[in-house]
Each structure stands twice: as structure tokens, then as C-alpha cells.
Point group: C2
Chain length 456, copies 2
């Protein structure tokens, strides 16, 4: 801990500093690099490494790799972490990894190939190594992977004074902790006390008399998405993690939960858009193509189903060519309305605001919204078709088709994710393609079918 | 603080309990309601109130409104909060509001109409009322609205022992605090010390010797989105808020920042989908229509632009009707590819991973991805058109059109949000409609234009 009172504020990363860093790299001036990078937070240095191009990054690391520490390493995104680790001299890597808490080491290990994992495990002291290997034994994306094993516990019968004396003598406390967890003789957590309450109570106060009102534990095998939900729902700051017998095995803190929440959001958003959920702005061309091509391929197949439906109606299109011009209107309105109701439903399922208790009411509301929007736009579009294309009967056809399409869109947008969720799939995954195709196909069929009946 | 050791775990809200609650409401059995609801966390009671229908909610409140406390009130979503507040007897409301910290009161006030705001302000004790009114004087969605005014500070020259003695004697400490903020004689924050470090240091230790390495303050006028970014980027647990002269005026804690992060995500996701950002699954039919209709209206206008482009090519469509069947393929592929690159760009702008430093490289990558995807799908689709519709020249036309469309989609998806961001608009807002229309229009024009040149 250094004395920061002279200059309390950390500096930030801006374009000016990035330009100065790139100049220093080009001039191979490692002194200037130190001056520019030392005042930055590790998270900003990681961002800088991600945002500059590959050749600049390699040149910077060649000059400055001895300064890379554990904190920077754990802030770097997966897309470039392997490259950075490979560039580090062995002794720098050993030093960096020994600095970290077990959960941060696990986070780094997860995304590495086995040979690099070995290098990092070898760098750890044996007690840390055992802790990390035990955490890696839990399933991926589980609470066990997320937790840090360093906990601060006290027997349930202790007083505030005993807890303070224990903390003053403890040799190895976690960097950040917010509660003292009370445990029974079998190491089962029975409550926790905030540090604020310990500090503001007299030494004689029994810890069990000042535990928090609300107390929860998380099982180590629970998925990390549930962990994020529990922290967000119950405003937790930290939460003890237990094994299947209920014994304390670690603790998860809110910064890790916030990180998971952020990743879950990103995943939902990217999945809805049909982009591989691991996509990042710093991916290369081939990783990007690999993430996007499969979903475009699916959409090509589904679009061709729409094309096949349309081709059944060639006779009516050949006679009334304006129908061809209006088809994209049906598709666009259906696609947009479906995206609206789909997005609201996927989001509400993720936040657990859409459940069995209100599903029926939500579906009924979507139906009503579909009918109202359908009637509005049918009126407008029928008039527009009349004015723009001088065809009143075509206007009637597209109006009716829009009513049907918007109802289908609103219903499919909520029913498909509900169904996927019930079947145990992620409702965000590929709902988009599925719902929009369904809407398009029904829309085209309605539009051209009505045209055949009403105009031929 | 009650002793919870006998039953440490809170119970959760599941379908079974919801059904039991609804039965108790129907039987007007308020004793059974107490038994069912008392063990629940306030956040779960709020969820229950949101998920049951309006008539059930009113019946429940009629039986149980005396039990509604401040915590439940601050957990309830805006969509139904006004209704709940109106149902509360005056004395219950007064009691509930007096329980809360100033930031929670501000959060409730923000979404109420002036007459209800008055009722709540009147319920506060005068010191709290002043604090709340001062917070309300800051702009909406600013750090000043988000902060709590209750802070725990110490003069910079104090020792650990002095801080502990002060905390033991303090009459009114915040419910949750994680740091002691050190201030100079003009109340400017100069650093902070975690409670963990205070507890683990000897009484003689100077506080300024154990401050955290990294220290930041936030100005009260900064937008809350920046607050969320700073907490997430720098892993803060709490952060002092200062006025324009740098004096301490409050503190923001991570649970509030996590909440903002969650709302910002939701906003981005809903805006991208063209749904008003305040949409919620518990909105009624009219609120839902109001949120969605404007965006559908815009998409109707833009779809008609596409229709007008197509109608310029009626001659070629009338001759080669299969073109009409293939147009939706062009639109679907363009729309999906545009959504992919748009979503990645909007997300990267929100997390500040896409900046001036890498914009050019990202645009170049999108161009490369567009070319590669274009070539792949051009080949596949040209072959498919040949096989499905027996028209090799039509295959060549749609192949070339797809290459152009996918390149336009990839570029527009990143350039439009970059431009909106540079101009100071939210890149998520309406990018979707704009980008997809642009792609569609260029795609239709390329497809039908090429058809006119190559097939007529």
C-alpha cells in the first residue's frame, strides 16, 4: 500500500494517450512507455492492448512485457490473452500468476490450451495449485469455478472482540472481503455479519446477535447465471458457497457476479442477433466469419422456404406485378413486429419476470397488441397502396394480409421463446431466425393467397 | 436484527407458493397470507405483485397492505408502483418511506406524479426531506440522483483506533458501507480505506498508510451510464461523489451501479429491437401498443421506399416472375447480416471496446467478412436457384446481388452506429430500422438492376 494522498485520482485512457503510447512504441522508448502506462489502471492497460492492432501490440509487449502483472493478465479479453501469455518471459508469468486470487487464476486457465495451462499451474505454489485444481474440478460456468476459496470465517459463538483480534493476527486475508461468515463445528455457514456492523458494535457483542436479516448460500454446482440472478435479485455483496453436504467451500463476491451478469446480457443480445456468443470486437476476420456464417446459412435455408411459397403464386404475380413490390412490406412489418415481441419476451425470461404465473396473461396481451397494430397499419397501408399504386383492391388485400401477419408475429414472438424455455433450451438461441421465418412464410401465404382469391 | 441461526436460508418464490397465495387471497385469509409472504425477501414479494393479474393484486393489497414496507416499495417495478402506493393507508406509507435511505426514496419519487411526490415528501422527517430534495435537484439519470447522502468519513490524519472509536459511538450509520472515506479539512476526499483493512490493522496504524492503491471520485452531474461503466471497468465496491468544487456530497455503492448496468443493457436491447426502452412484461395493452407502434410506423415508411424501388422494375419482374420469389432471399440475407454486424458494433460501443483507436480496423474487418460471406452464399444461392428454379442466369444474378448486399450490410452495420455515436446520439436507437432499410433498398436495386441488364 503506497501513500496516494498527493495524487488520489487514477488517470484514464484516452485517444491522446493511445497515440502517445504508439509513438513511444515506434521509437522503442521504454522509459516513455513506463511514464505513460504506470498511472493507468490494469483494466485500461488491457483495453489498450486489445484496441491497438496486432503488430503494435507485439511491438509494445516486446518492449514492456516485464511490466505485465497478474491484474493486467486477468483483465485481458480471451481473444488476445493466449498471445499475450506466450509473449511473456517465464519469470514474469510466474510472478504475475502468484499475485492472483484463486478465482482469477481459474478464470485465466479456463480459456487456455492444456500446454499453457500446465505452464501456469507449475508457476503456482503448491497450496494455491491444489485450490485451483479443485476449483477446475467443478463444471464450467458453475459457482464453484467463480468462487474464491479464501474465506473469512468465525465460530458461531464468537464475540466481536474475538473476531477483531483474530483478524488483526491473521496472516493471509483476501484482498477484498465484506462479511465474516459464521460457521458451526461442521463448517456449515449459519449466518454472516457485515464488517460495518462489527466495527460499530462493542467488543462484548455476540456475533450471532448482529447477523444480517437475510442470508443465503449457493451450491458450488449451481450455474453461474443463477448466481448472477441471486446477487441482482437480493442485492447481495458476497455469498458463501457450499458443497453438497452444506459445508463452506468458498465465497463469491459481487464484482464477479456483476461480470457474469454482463456476460449473460452480451450472450443474449448476440444470440438474438445470430452471432456466436463469444464474438468480440477484437476477433480477427476468420473468427468473425466462423461466428456468423452458420446463422446466415440457416437464414438462407429459411429464406428459400419463403421463396418456394412465393413461387407457388407465380400466376397471380405475373398478372398483378405490383404484388411483387408489396411483398417486402409484408415481410418487413412482420419481421419488425416479431422482433419487438420476441425481444421483450426473451429479456423477461432472462430476468425471470415472465413465468408460469403470468405467461397466459402476457400471451393474451400480445394477441391484443397484434390485433390493434394490425388494424392500424392495415388501414394506413391499404390507403397508401391505393394512392401510391392506384389499386384499391390491392390495398384491401395488403391490409388483410398485414392484420394476419402482425397477429402471427406478436404471438410467435412470445410463444416460441416460451416453448424453447419450457423444453430447457436458451430462449435467445436462434429464436430470431425461427420466428421471423415463420412470420414471413405465413405473411406471404396470406398476402398472395388473398390476392389469388380476391384479384384473379 | 433478529437471530436467524435457527433457519438461516430465506425461502424462494415458486409456482406452488404463488398458487397458495392466490388461494389465500380468494379465501380472504390474511393469516395464511402472513405465513406465506413473511418468509419471502422483499424482491420476491415485489415480483409476486407484478406477476399476478391486476384484480388479484388489488385483492391481495386490500388484505395485506398494512405489511407493505419500504423495501418492498423500492423493489416494485415502475409499471405498478403508482397503483400500489395509492392502495396504501396513509400511515403505512409514512412508515414505509421513513425506513428507506435517501437514494431509495429518490428512486421511488422519480417515477411518481407531483401530487403523489408531495405525499411521500410530507411523510419524511425534515432532515431526510432536505436530503431528498437536494438529490432531486440533480439532473435525471445523474450520479447525484443515484448516490446516498449518508457517508462514513474520517479526517485524513486519524488512526485506525480513532476510526473504530468513532464508528462505535456513531448513532446513525448507513445500512451498508464498505469504506471509510478520508477527507481533508475542506471535505475533499483524498483516499479511502476498506473496512477489512481497518479491522486487520493495529489501533496505532495511520489511516492514510492503508488507503487503497486505486482511488476515484465521480462528479454528481455525471450520467449514470458512466457510473455503471466506471464500477464495472475498475471493479469498485463504492465510490465517493463530489460536487463541482470537489467536495464530498455522497457515495454510490455497487448494488446501485449493478442496477444501472442492468437497465442500460435492457435499454440497448429494447432500442435495437425498436421497442420503447421503458417496456416491461407487466405493461398493459395500451402501454405496449404505445411503445411499439411508432417504430412499426417508421418501418412501414422505410418498407414502402423498398416497394417503390421494386416498382421501378415491374417490366423485368413481369417477364421473369421467379425474380419476385427470390427478392425475399436478398432481403432476409441482407437483414440478418446487417443485424449481426450492427449488434456487435452497438455492444462494443456500449462497453467502450470500439473507440477511435480501433474503428478503422473494425470497419476493414467487417468489409473482409462481408466479402467472404458474400462469396460463400453467392455460390450456394446461385447453385440453388439453378436447381430449384431451373434458371442458371437467374442464379448468376442473385449470386452477384448477394455479394453486393452482404458487403453493404456488413459495412452499414458498423458505420451507422459509429456515425450516430460520433454525432452524440445513442447508437442503439433506431439503427436497426435505418441499417436494414438501407441494405434492403441497395439489395433490391442491385438484384433487379442486374436482372434488367443481364436477363432482358
Amino acid at each position: 500500500m503506497t501513500d496516494h494522498l498527493a495524487n488520489p485520482e487514477d488517470e484514464t485512457l484516452d485517444q491522446e494517450r493511445i497515440d502517445a503510447v504508439l509513438e513511444a512504441v515506434e521509437a522503442e522508448d521504454s522509459g516513455a512507455l513506463d511514464t505513460l502506462l504506470d498511472p493507468l489502471h490494469a483494466a485500461d492497460i488491457a483495453d489498450l492492448l486489445e484496441q491497438i492492432g496486432g503488430p503494435d501490440r507485439r511491438a509494445l509487449l516486446a518492449l514492456w512485457s516485464h511490466e505485465i502483472d497478474g491484474e493486467i493478465l486477468s483483465e485481458i479479453s480471451d481473444a488476445i490473452r493466449e498471445e499475450v501469455i506466450e509473449s511473456l518471459p517465464r519469470e514474469v508469468l510466474v510472478e504475475a500468476v502468484r499475485d492472483l486470487e484463486s478465482d482469477d487464476v481459474v478464470d485465466i486457465l479456463e480459456d487456455l490450451e492444456p500446454p499453457q495451462q500446465g505452464v501456469i499451474l507449475d508457476a503456482l505454489e503448491s497450496a494455491d495449485r491444489v485450490a485451483v485444481e479443485q476449483a477446475m474440478a467443478f463444471p464450467e460456468y458453475s459457482a464453484g469455478r467463480l468462487m474464491q476459496r479464501e474465506t473469512v470465517v468465525a465460530p458461531e459463538h464468537w464475540t466481536v472482540g474475538e473476531a477483531i483480534d483474530f483478524l488483526r493476527q491473521a496472516e493471509h486475508l483476501p484482498d477484498q472481503f465484506y462479511h465474516v461468515i459464521l460457521v458451526d463445528p461442521r463448517m456449515k455457514p449459519v449466518g454472516y455479519v457485515t464488517l460495518g456492523r462489527i466495527l460499530s458494535s462493542g467488543r462484548e457483542m455476540a456475533l450471532r446477535a448482529i447477523t444480517e436479516d437475510s442470508f443465503r448460500t449457493i451450491e458450488a454446482t449451481e450455474p453461474e447465471a443463477d448466481v448472477a440472478y441471486i446477487f441482482n435479485q437480493y442485492h447481495l455483496i458476497s455469498c458463501p458457497v457450499v458443497d453438497s453436504a452444506g459445508r463452506l467451500v468458498g465465497v463469491i463476491t459481487i464484482d464477479d457476479a456483476m461480470n457474469v451478469l454482463d456476460e449473460e446480457h452480451e450472450e443474449d443480445m448476440l444470440r438474438l442477433a445470430g452471432v456466436g456468443e463469444e464474438s468480440s470486437i477484437s476477433d480477427g476476420v476468420w473468427d468473425t466469419v466462423k461466428a456468423r456464417l452458420p446463422w446466415l446459412a440457416i437464414s438462407l435455408v429459411t429464406a428459400n422456404i419463403g421463396a418456394l411459397v412465393i413461387s407457388q403464386f407465380e400466376a397471380v404475380i405475373a398478372k398483378i406485378v405490383v404484388l411483387a413490390a408489396l411483398m417486402p412490406v409484408v415481410a418487413a412489418m412482420g419481421g419488425n413486429a416479431a422482433t419487438q415481441s420476441l425481444t421483450v419476451a426473451v429479456r423477461a425470461l432472462a430476468t425471470r419476470d415472465l413465468t408460469g404465473a403470468n405467461a397466459f396473461r402476457v400471451v393474451r396481451r400480445e394477441l391484443a397488441v397484434g390485433v390493434i397494430n394490425g388494424l392500424c397499419f392495415a388501414g394506413v397501408m391499404a390507403t397508401a397502396a391505393w394512392i401510391l399504386f392506384g389499386a384499391p383492391m390491392v390495398g384491401a388485400v395488403i391490409g388483410l394480409a398485414l392484420i394476419i401477419t402482425l397477429i402471427v408475429a406478436a404471438l410467435a414472438g412470445v410463444l416460441v421463446p416460451l416453448l424453447l424455455n419450457r423444453l430447457g433450451f436458451d430462449p435467445a438461441l436462434s429464436s430470431g431466425t425461427f420466428v421471423i421465418t415463420m412470420t414471413d412464410v405465413i405473411g406471404f401465404f396470406a398476402f398472395l393467397g388473398l390476392a389469388t382469391v380476391m384479384l384473379l
